[in-house]
């Protein structure tokens, strides 16, 4: 088992004929992900990735013809909100939106509509997810992973890779690694992922990688305190040296009005039973200290 993606994933790549879409779709295919379709309006009937993946004009057609249940979006920011709605309208249960630079107000109605439809959106501006040995969706390099039972959730891209690589190097494998994205408005929050990990019989420990800005880490910690006692938990929070009032790359990474500091988040996570690392390389050792034996 794993969460969000796994052996049952039947993926459609929205924007498969674009430069980014084609490049990463190829990587996913090579990793073993079952890509059943691509969608690019106006390119229906073609076949992408050396003729291995049929391309459709619309998501509804792609789902009808291939039974796709998951989608991964690589279309430009101006078209991405519509792409999410198209996926959900076609009945896709899990949508990963990799696209970055989507205005936050555009996402407000989208996340609400996805919620109402009972689907799940991960992102936007996220690296995707990998369930090692089963499937990867998005842009996380497949090579850093190892099969195992630690769930990893993060707001970052390369920082996640760093942490996962450190775990893999230490012989600690992952059930699923998820990047939820660094934008202020994202479809899936830390809390949502913790709940999914808690319900996954294969996930035995959890690593949370947060950063400054917002209160999503605190919200997740409050839930973990009540529901994850006994589960080995480790965390890292980036941005201890970040100045107030400046956006640190990610649209969501900003301390404003004295709120959203790393210190607050570290305190909340420690109070909830997380071992908090001062460097991502410490995470494997902290997992062991927390009782993880996998």
């Amino acid at each position: 088992m794993s969460i969000l993606i796994g052996r049952d994933t039947r993926l459609v790549v929205q924007g498969i004929t674009g430069r980014e879409g084609e490049f990463h779709a190829r990587q996913m295919l090579e990793y073993g992900t079952r890509i059943v379709a691509g969608v690019t309006p106006g390119k229906g009937g073609l076949h992408a990735l050396d003729n291995r993946v049929p391309v459709f004009d619309t998501m509804v057609e792609a789902v009808r013809e291939t039974g796709a249940n998951t989608s991964c979006i690589f279309v430009p920011a101006a078209a991405a909100p519509d792409a999410v709605l198209e996926a959900v309208g076609a009945g896709i249960g899990t949508v990963f939106c990799i696209t970055e630079g989507i205005p936050a107000l555009d996402m407000l109605p989208v996340v609400e509509l996805v919620r109402q439809a009972g689907s799940r959106l991960v992102g936007p501006n996220c690296p995707g997810a990998t369930s090692p040995g089963r499937a990867k969706v998005g842009i996380i390099p497949g090579s850093i992973h190892r099969e195992g039972s630690v769930g990893v959730v993060s707001r970052s891209g390369t920082l996640t890779y760093e942490a996962v690589q450190a775990m893999t190097d230490a012989g600690i494998g992952q059930s699923t690694c998820i990047g939820i994205g660094g934008d202020p408005i994202v479809g899936t929050a830390f809390l949502d992922v913790l709940q999914l990990f808690a319900a996954d019989p294969e996930t035995e420990a959890i690593v949370l990688i947060g950063e400054i800005g917002g209160g999503a880490e605190e919200e997740a910690a409050a839930w973990a305190a009540d529901h994850l006692r006994g589960v080995p938990l480790a965390a890292f929070v980036a941005g201890r040296t970040a100045p107030e009032g400046r956006r640190m790359g990610h649209a969501g990474a900003i301390i404003s009005g004295g709120r959203g500091t790393a210190a607050e988040k570290v305190a909340a996570l420690e109070a909830a039973g997380f071992r908090v690392a001062s460097s991502p390389t410490e995470l494997p050792a902290l997992l062991r200290t927390a009782g993880y034996r996998g």
Partner: protein
């Protein structure tokens, strides 16, 4: 992007909201002329306000009243050129001083947790809302706008009654509340505050009348949406901005200048912050936050290097690249090329892992770069190099 008060007020006016007139002055003389004009129109006193993007200008002495044009000129002379929390005052706003009956706070923010625009109102206006939130949180009333339909009129009325504006100003309050939400949507703002929203007394044909006025305004815009608002992009304060910021923007590099000595070049925002944190932990101080983004090509690496070396305080450079989309060999080539061209020689520690890391290692080795295997090691080496460089310079 933060807007200056005058620009923020312009956006309020565009929504038809009640904002008293104002003028912007860049010299004491202009301030005196503006004061003279308002006084000729019947104003008895003007207010002169420093235009800076940081808060707390009032406490810093950046807001003063003046009773004559000469006094306005004199006051403006004192404010212009002030340093407020590191920002040089280059402009002042001059406007009629309002007869304030009572001050309120009205603001709206994009709230991440609820994924809604939340509108807040308080009868404790005129002071910083963070202060009110800490001291008397119950004095702040909140309603969440519907993600599709926006703020309903009844929600605005609920706020009005909660802060005691349910009387003669009810309709106008509702109009202002709707206007602020419309302003956010029209301009992709993620924060808009009117503080104070005030009941002001004004002379009318039949004696004084009281009405609502937006006396100060603060707006921040969603940077991700600026490409579709070129008219707002033009409001960017290039004076107040570090020239390096403009170059960074040109190359699509996220760059924030800090006070330390270790320049950092990293791919990914989270990893860049982490690199800064580890520099600090190793006993150094980061000179900047710098995210070169994904798939960084040689010209972007060269630009990042220029940005870092543009800061004379930089004594060592730490390059930390986790290759994914970004190819390590490409970054290595960019670094070698950049070093060959740069005028100032600063020790550099490079760590490149992930995609094409082996090829990168070979190139860096051939070019005699100092390298590191882990991030912690890289941070330690960079701090040591900076200490050596600082020692050598002394």
């Amino acid at each position: 992007m933060k807007l200056h008060e005058a620009d923020a007020k312009m956006l309020l006016v565009a929504q038809g909201l009640p904002v008293p007139p104002w003028a912007v002055a860049r010299t004491p003389e202009e301030a005196g002329e503006a004061a003279a004009k308002f006084m000729a129109e019947g104003t008895r006193r003007v207010v002169v306000k420093a235009q800076v993007l940081v808060g707390g200008r009032g406490k810093a002495g950046g807001v003063k009243l003046a009773g004559t044009p000469a006094e306005a000129e004199e006051v403006a002379g004192r404010i212009l050129g002030m340093d407020i929390k590191g920002s040089l005052v280059r402009k002042v706003l001059v406007g009629p001083a309002a007869m304030i009956v009572r001050e309120y706070y009205l603001g709206a923010i994009l709230d991440r947790a609820s994924r809604r625009i939340v509108m807040m109102a308080s009868a404790e206006g005129g002071v910083e809302i963070e202060e009110v939130a800490r001291v008397t949180p119950a004095a702040i009333h909140r309603v969440a706008a519907h993600p599709f339909l926006g703020l309903h009129d009844y929600q605005a009325r609920e706020l009005a009654f909660a802060v005691g504006l349910g009387g003669p100003h009810l309709r106008e309050f509702v109009r202002i509340a709707r206007g602020l939400i419309a302003l956010m949507a029209a301009n992709d703002a993620d924060l808009v505050e009117v503080n104070p929203l005030a009941v002001v007394r004004e002379p009318g044909p039949e004696g004084h009348v009281e009405r609502l006025a937006c006396l100060d305004a603060k707006i921040t815009l969603d940077d991700s949406a600026l490409p579709r608002h070129p008219e707002l992009e033009r409001l960017r304060d290039l004076d107040e901005e570090d020239p390096a910021d403009a170059e960074a923007r040109h190359y699509d590099i996220s760059f924030i200048h800090l006070d330390g000595t270790i320049g950092c070049m990293v791919n990914g925002a989270g990893l860049a912050m982490t690199t800064m944190d580890l520099v600090k932990q190793a006993g150094g101080e980061p000179a900047n936050f710098l995210d070169i983004g994904g798939g960084a090509k040689a010209d972007r690496v060269a630009a990042a290097m220029r940005l870092i070396l543009g800061d004379p305080k930089v004594e060592a450079i730490l390059v930390n690249i986790f290759g994914g989309i970004t190819r390590g060999d490409e970054v290595a080539r960019g670094l070698i090329e950049a070093r060959n061209r740069q005028e100032r020689d600063v020790p550099m520690v490079v760590r490149i892992v992930g995609t094409n890391a082996a090829e990168a290692a070979r190139l860096l080795h051939e070019a005699s770069f100092e390298t590191a295997a882990t991030l912690d090691e890289a941070a330690g080496k960079a701090v040591a190099a900076a200490r050596r460089a600082a020692g050598g310079a002394r």
